[in-house]
């Protein structure tokens, strides 16, 4: 199994897509910090910067990698079908559960590996900026620790969802479009039509977990949202494994 996981890492490292995504993720961090700080307080409509909600929304920039990791997860699996490399992958490792399992593990580790520098970068940008606005942040506090832990968890769980989606929708472009439509359109529409369902949707749960965005409807507590997102991740992963094992690779 170790060999299959190592091979998955090598696959990621030997294409440019991976480095592009990682760089884009890091580039989003200052942008998200800036947006959160500019929209904070009474003029911007967000929570004041010296409240814990305000801090949470600024440091939620640490989870900016989740969307990119979702895309990486999709490409790691659907890309095998797009470029027909699934054939040689399954010839080397005929037990497809091991292949999908290795992709889930490798992508999750990539998620963790990306969320750590984004966390550090968020702090590095936010702390001096907030200090300039006379808001002191205790970097070593449990509050900050929990926010960043939530960011890392969300990013890692998005890897599971991504690999799952990439297994279920083997057309890579269709998978990416489906995910974007869900995040940008479908989920918002569902939330406005059925607000009571909203909190159980993955995107809203992510907001509740990381503090990204400031929705007006009721959210689950962060720990509950974390568990819910974990359940989504495992469900997508399990469905993906089942689907890939059964399908013919023609």
């Amino acid at each position: 199994m170790n060999e299959v996981i190592r091979a998955e890492f090598l696959k990621l490292r030997t294409t440019r897509m991976f480095y592009g995504n990682a760089l884009a993720t890091l580039a989003f961090v200052p942008l998200f910090v800036a947006i959160a700080i500019q929209t904070a307080g009474d003029d911007g409509g967000g929570a004041a910067l010296d409240t814990s909600e305000g801090l949470r929304s600024v440091l939620s920039a640490a989870s900016s990698g989740s969307l990119m990791v979702l895309m990486i997860g999709i490409m790691v699996m659907a890309g095998e079908f797009r470029h027909n490399t699934a054939t040689s992958t399954f010839l080397v490792t005929p037990d497809r559960r091991r292949v999908v399992g290795a992709k889930l593990i490798a992508s999750t580790l990539v998620g963790v590996g990306l969320a750590m520098p984004t966390s550090v970068l968020s702090l590095a940008i936010a702390v001096p900026w907030l200090a300039a606005k006379d808001v002191t942040v205790d970097v070593l506090s449990a509050e900050v620790g929990l926010i960043l832990l939530a960011a890392i968890a969300a990013t890692a769980l998005y890897a599971l969802i991504g690999v799952g989606v990439g297994s279920l929708i083997r057309n890579q472009t269709a998978a990416v479009v489906a995910v974007l439509v869900w995040i940008l359109v479908a989920e918002n529409a569902l939330v406005s039509f059925m607000p009571e369902v909203g909190r159980w949707l993955p995107g809203v749960a992510t907001d509740a977990l990381t503090g990204l965005g400031t929705p007006s409807y009721g959210l689950l507590p962060a720990w509950g949202a974390g568990l819910l997102l974990g359940a989504y991740g495992l469900a997508f992963a399990a469905a993906g494994i089942r689907f890939v094992v059964r399908r013919d690779v023609a």
Binding site: R6, T14, G79, H83, N84, V92, P94, D248, A250
Partner: protein, 299 residues
């Protein structure tokens, strides 16, 4: 000894029966041509043999076990399927490195196989810049990584230029000379006739015949192809000596079941001028066409 065994293999895609109760064997150490027209089920059969497509019924085994049961499949079986199995942005060497790592094969094999297929100089290039012929060679390199005793190739000559086909032919012969088994599919018998010992011919998913190439050749009528300005006179002279001849054109004919010596002697005796004379052993391609169209039908 049997290396590959296919038993009652069947694959249905909805209402379409792609492979229909197919059985054949490939002897260890032989080069076997797996032949059939396009769409006759060759690729589906090979993909079932390699565990990529699940059969509706029947079994396909390599050295007694199904592909999915092989512990280190790359060390037993090398497969070259279609030539598009590469990520275009990945370097050729990296593609092979990934396979080595996943298969637990020493990465030092990468440079060895690149040399073996003549791609040593372009290993550091990204695959998107590769010609079809280079992709076929890279696919072959991947198949050779584990030094397998069985090589399975699906239409490997597709897209190769004549030089590439020649190279491939020599490569397969030298590979088989080391006592290894090769199963190579093609829709052209002539393409593999110089390479294979045995043939398995299918059409419309069904087995038409399995035999050695020599036996197949014997099934085609041997004869002597003659070009002469006095074809009718020669035909009479041959008939007088009980040699049947078929007229094929104004000045050409084929004398059946005889030798060039006999035809030459009869022609000399009858004072007939001969411009050209060839022993016509068999025409495999004609026979192949006849077998696959009359027995199985074309889709």
């Amino acid at each position: 000894m049997t290396s590959i065994e296919v038993q009652g293999l069947t694959k249905r895609f909805g209402d379409v029966v792609a492979v229909d109760n197919l059985s054949f064997e490939v002897a260890r150490g032989s080069v076997t041509g797996f032949l059939g027209p396009n769409g006759s089920g060759k690729t589906t059969t090979l993909r079932m043999l390699l565990g990529l497509v699940a059969p509706t019924a029947g079994s396909a085994t390599i050295a007694g076990s199904s592909y999915r049961q092989l512990a280190d499949p790359l060390r037993h079986v090398g497969a070259v399927l279609e030539s598009t199995n590469f990520h275009p942005g990945r370097r050729a060497r990296d593609h092979l490195r990934v396979l080595c790592v996943a298969a637990g094969i020493a990465v030092s094999r990468v440079d060895e196989v690149l040399r073996e297929v003549g791609l040593a100089d372009v290993g550091a290039r990204r695959v998107k810049g590769f010609s079809l012929g280079m992709r076929q060679r890279l696919g072959l390199a991947a198949a050779l990584l584990g030094e397998p005793e069985v090589l399975i190739l699906d239409e490997p000559a597709n897209g190769l230029d004549p030089e590439g086909v020649h190279w491939l032919r020599r490569f397969l012969c030298s590979y088989a000379d080391r006592g290894r088994t090769v199963l190579v599919s093609s829709h052209l018998l002539a393409e593999v006739a110089q390479t294979v010992d045995d043939v398995v011919i299918i059409a419309a998913g069904r087995l038409i015949t399995q035999s050695s190439l020599a036996d197949l050749a014997n099934r085609a009528t041997p004869g002597v192809w003659v070009r002469s300005p006095q074809a009718p006179a020669l035909r009479e002279a041959l008939a007088a000596r009980d040699v049947v001849a078929e007229v094929k054109g104004a000045d050409t004919m084929v004398a059946l079941a005889t030798t060039t010596d006999t035809v030459g002697l009869i022609a000399a005796g009858a004072g007939v001028v001969i411009y050209e004379m060839t022993a016509r052993r068999f025409d495999l391609e004609e026979l192949f066409l006849e077998l696959t169209t009359t027995a199985g039908g074309i889709r």
